[in-house]
């Protein structure tokens, strides 16, 4: 499954909105097969914060583990947010960036 984050907006900054986005997307996540990868594409997201990311990405990391892959994470606010989430919760996100 590929999730386009820009469909949730280009300014992804509050816990409330991150939580709401995750809950709204939960029914779609039921379609993910047992061995399927879940790709989250950050392309065209302008501002991303750890609060939003914490609420949306952390439950997915817990559920999908190694099958969760983050794409196009080169925006500086995405880089800084992922770094603090990884360090706070001892996580390591798989990332793939296309030149």
């Amino acid at each position: 499954m590929k999730i386009e984050l820009k469909k949730f907006g280009t300014t992804l900054v509050s816990r409330q909105n991150g939580r709401e986005a995750y809950l709204a997307f939960l029914p779609s996540l039921k379609e993910v097969m047992e061995d399927e990868e879940v790709n989250i594409n950050f392309a065209d997201v302008i501002t991303f914060s750890p609060s939003w990311g914490d609420e949306f990405l952390r439950p997915m990391a817990e559920q999908y583990g190694e099958r969760l892959i983050l794409l196009n994470t080169d925006n500086p606010s995405v880089v800084a947010s992922l770094d603090i989430i990884e360090r706070s919760y001892n996580l390591k996100f798989k990332q793939e960036n296309q030149g």
Binding site: Q16, P50, P76, S77
Partner: protein
């Protein structure tokens, strides 16, 4: 009046605020943050064009912290002041909420003063909303400021914290006037 002075008068004296600066709820703040993002994305400065998402994210974390930690507990006026002046490269955020000490004391009762509370808020993963697993927003703010050409002055109670590019050490001083909520000035 200067935006910083106006914010100080609001948190200390509850003076009137221009409607353009007042965000009564997080939805209003979100829409004004998007406007700031749009204005910064049109900046002519090449460096700023690359780093403005960090500036917006820092402002977003500080502003949303005010809402997250005071929801249902605003002592008098709900909401925050959010003002910016791009010609001065300055963003000002303030609230008349409970302040950092009172918020964090719930999960860390050993805190005794505003200085300790401010250092804890910017260095430890701790939340005033425990047992919810939160509390990395101000650590993120600190990391971004010290790794980029930015400055932050953050005051709560009688404590003021200064963060600058390249300076990992935290400087916290006693300040006047004492006030209950929070005041943040970001320079970028």
């Amino acid at each position: 009046m200067d935006q910083v002075e106006l914010a100080k008068k609001w948190v200390v004296e509850n003076s009137d605020l221009p409607a353009d600066y007042y965000c009564s709820n997080s939805a209003v703040f979100q829409s004004r943050l998007v406007k700031l993002q749009e204005e910064l994305s049109g900046a002519m400065d090449e460096k700023l064009k690359k780093t403005f998402p960090l500036t917006v994210a820092v402002a977003g974390e500080i502003g949303n912290n005010s809402f997250d930690h005071n929801l249902g507990n605003w002592p008098d006026i709900p909401g925050i002041l959010f003002a910016y002046d791009l010609s001065q490269r300055q963003i000002v955020l303030a609230d008349r909420g409970q302040g950092i000490l009172r918020t964090l004391k719930r999960s860390k009762p050993s805190l005794t003063n505003d200085q300790e509370a401010l250092i804890t808020a910017f260095t430890e993963t701790i939340s005033g909303r425990a047992p919810e697993n939160r509390g990395n927003g101000l650590k993120f703010v600190r990391e971004v400021i010290i790794k980029n050409q930015m400055q932050l002055s953050f005051q709560t109670g009688n404590a003021n914290l200064e963060l600058r590019y390249g300076e990992r050490d935290l400087t916290v001083k006693k300040m006047e006037p004492v006030f209950r909520g929070c005041l943040a000035v970001i320079k970028f």
